[in-house]
């Protein structure tokens, strides 16, 4: 033990400033075949985070093939000619790495965390499965069962998840955001090896991929390693285009009620369709972000102080703006009623608080408090290379640029009281929303 403070080993962050949104050092490069590269330096630890993001998600599933993006994500672990099933995972494990993958509405991503000296090896294997995936029915069949079990676990066992799935389906009458990422059960059952390969061939191309590396590595080294691996994959001339049916203007407020004998704690949720960081007019997404924080970002928020603190109609309430999305997105308000409070009374109270909010001047203290927290959270994110890598990945995969992430704190700081109230008036219009009630069976029957 000593008082040495700056050796750059895993336990001890070094003296060099870490990168962050707002800080220089994040590099954005491109390979000749069109693959994008983002390098986020983090000299504190000898660990790297290596991610490949594909700019396609469940919203790009062909009609009638819901769940194919997610199913393919599972099948991507089934091996290639050079690296048969299990070889990649066994190698990652042997090198002391961790790996996983995830599918969203707008992207699919694969990642590993590992000692930095193994970065080139990871790239070789990840580049191999970008184009050389081998699938046969012997592996596709059991994996389809695994996905159906995943759906049973996430949805069929849980009434609140079933309500949530229904709310999304009602909120989006036309856009594929209304279809669950994992897919509808009856369509998952029919997904075939051929469906998976067709989808793979269409989307798993260098032009459609983003490499993100965070760790103690410099941009030119990453680019050189990437050129020797990902760079060998021939370009397909252009990136696949994403053409999704867009939502018509919403005209009617909707209420969805799910009753189930397994429900003992009722809950309330309201979701609005609003612009995303990608589709919003300048400054509008930032205003929605700040609005969500002021309304429902914790116990010092307007909804919490009113409905939980003063009126005691709810035990919990919150709001969340899902700002990262390629198309128009969702703004959530959710509440848990206090014992004995009817959901319809909580719903009326929520309307009343929102009406009062949009009809009044925004309290300057509330605005400043929200900005302070949000800007600070960007600093807290610098403590985790995985958080930073995900932030850049999600942003770039939904059509934003590196500057949109690095400048985000400044743009939050520029949000005005008028723009917050304006965003609330314009977008928290009940016609743009669907409200969900989760209720016990006996209450509904009464």
């Amino acid at each position: 033990m000593s008082t040495q403070t700056s050796a750059a080993i895993a336990l001890t962050p070094g003296a060099t400033a870490a990168p962050a949104p707002g800080a220089p050092g994040v590099a954005h490069l491109k390979l000749d075949n069109g693959m994008e590269i983002v390098v986020i330096p983090d000299p504190r630890t000898p660990v790297v985070t290596h991610m490949v993001w594909y700019k396609n998600g469940s919203a790009d599933d062909p009609l009638g093939k819901s769940g194919i993006a997610h199913f393919l994500e599972h099948l991507m672990f089934k091996g290639t000619k050079e690296n048969p099933q299990g070889a990649f995972s066994n190698l990652v494990a042997e090198l002391g790495g961790q790996e996983n993958a995830f599918t969203g509405y707008d992207y699919t991503a694969y990642f590993q965390r590992i000692g930095k000296e193994h970065l080139a090896t990871l790239m070789r294997f990840e580049a191999d499965r970008m184009t050389n995936l081998l699938l046969n029915d012997d592996v596709v069949g059991p994996e389809r069962e695994v996905v159906l079990e995943e759906r049973r676990m996430r949805v069929d066992n849980d009434p609140s998840a079933q309500l949530d799935e229904t709310l999304q389906a009602v909120l989006f009458a036309h856009h594929p955001y209304g279809t669950p990422i994992i897919g509808w059960n009856h369509e998952i059952e029919e997904l075939s090896r051929e469906d998976a390969l067709a989808y793979y061939t269409r989307f798993y191309t260098p032009e459609n991929a983003i490499l993100i590396v965070a760790g103690d590595v410099d941009a030119q080294t990453v680019k050189a390693l990437a050129a020797q691996t990902y760079g060998k994959i021939p370009a397909r001339a252009q990136a696949p285009t994403r053409r999704r049916p867009q939502e018509p203007p919403p005209r009617a407020e909707r209420l969805v009620t799910l009753t189930d004998e397994k429900v003992e704690q009722p809950s309330h949720e309201r979701i609005f369709v609003v612009p995303s960081y990608t589709t919003a007019a300048p400054g509008e997404a930032e205003a929605l972000d700040v609005l969500a924080h002021i309304l429902g970002g914790g116990p010092a928020s307007v909804l919490y102080e009113t409905l939980v603190g003063e009126e005691k109609l709810a035990v919990a309430v919150g709001a969340y703006y899902m700002g990262t999305a390629l198309d128009d997105t969702r703004f959530y308000i959710f509440a848990t009623p206090a014992d004995g409070v009817e959901l319809k009374d909580l719903d009326i109270a929520l309307d009343r608080v929102l009406d009062k909010f949009v009809g009044a001047q925004l309290n300057e203290e509330d605005l400043q408090r929200a900005k302070t927290r949000m800007i600070a959270d960007a600093v807290y994110a610098r403590d985790s290379q995985v958080s930073l890598a995900r932030w850049y990945g999600e942003s770039l995969a939904t059509g934003l640029g590196v500057a949109d992430v690095t400048d985000w704190p400044d743009r939050i700081d520029a949000v005005t009281d008028a723009s917050v109230i304006g965003a609330a008036r314009k977008w928290l219009d009940k016609k743009r929303s669907v409200t969900g009630f989760l209720l016990p069976k006996e209450t509904a029957d009464a």
Binding site: A7, L11, A17, V147, E149, D156, Q265, D383
Partner: protein
Amino acid sequence: MTAHNTLATPKSRAENVQRIVTPEGVEAWLVESYAVPLVALEFSVRGGAAQDPDGKEGLATLLAGLLDEGAGSLDSRAFHRAVEDLAVHIGFGAERDSLSGHLQTLSRNVDQAFALFKLTLNDARFDADAIDRVRGQLAAGIKRDANDPDAMVAKAFREAAFPGHPYSRAARGELETLERLTRSDLETMRGRLFARENLKIAVVGAIDAATLTARLDEAFGGWSLRGDLAPVSDIAVHDIGARKIVDLDVPQSTMRFGRPGVAKKDSDYFAAVVVNHILGGGVFTARLFNEVREKRGLAYSVYSQLHEFDHCPMLVGGAATKNERAGETLDVLEEQCRLLSTDGPSLDELEKAKKFLTGSYALRFDTSTKIAGQLVNIQRDGLEPSYLDERNAKIDAVTLEDARRAARRLLGDGKVLVAVAGRPQGIS
């Protein structure tokens, strides 16, 4: 400076840990680092939900929930606004054997953040409306999980595994026990738990030892030295081989299974860690993953892990599979336990497991809060900072013979206590 540092051969981690003892006698481990302008503190006091008096289950959880609901001159609303104005993170939680706390702040707000933290640790108000509110939140959580398969199997498992023991009870209480808890119960519990002899602290970030020493004395120096913990007896998992079925009308059966484990102080502990990794700890490489998920498509999630309560080491695991194939899944689980027990792992499995376990140790130290959490855990286990450098050697030293012996001890005849929620077929 960094070129020769690799995951395989890290330089000493321990030498970067400063041990601080304040004038008031508060001890903490500090890793000083200025790479990010943040400070993270984690602490743990021994004695959590297992210390709840009979009939007052949920008390430790309620106490943890009320510490940041108003303190000193600040009522709940004023306190939460102060937390937001500083953009500080303060949180508390009760586990079975401990109550833990967390502080994270921008380094420029360190003094004010510690001032708020001090209030929560010494002057939480326990106002009546705050007690009612947090009690209502806990009750809503209990009702939300009343028919949740994971919560149901957790309850059925602990009631069968630990009959009559504090571990059999609900850590966050039951609706009727929450109703009984009073302000005076909270004050008594705080007095019993918040004692320096029970306290372990770790701090990571942009703060020097002198500054931290002063802040720690302000925050913790007023605590009494001695607490008042009720003795908790040691217990091994009961009812091995039993099946506890909780009827629930869902298409999938959720299972939780377990057997007695190996204590951290046991000479076979690291061999048991290796064996568990081979059985069900390795996410994509474990035998359970391959046999249950990969080959048969029986489940999305299947795993095992070593879990050490202070008074009960366990091997536990879980799986979720459609009702029609629940019996088949349980058969495969127990067969895999039995095979690993009788035949032991192969040399190849042993070597690969050791490579993963040693190589991935660095991944536990890549954020300030994770480092602080690791340092608190090491202190709770009664170990020195040198453990940071010795741990991988202990894994490396596990021989095939050690692993075979540990597998026999850990897995015995392969039978497990299992709790199942759903309408499982083929299990009775």
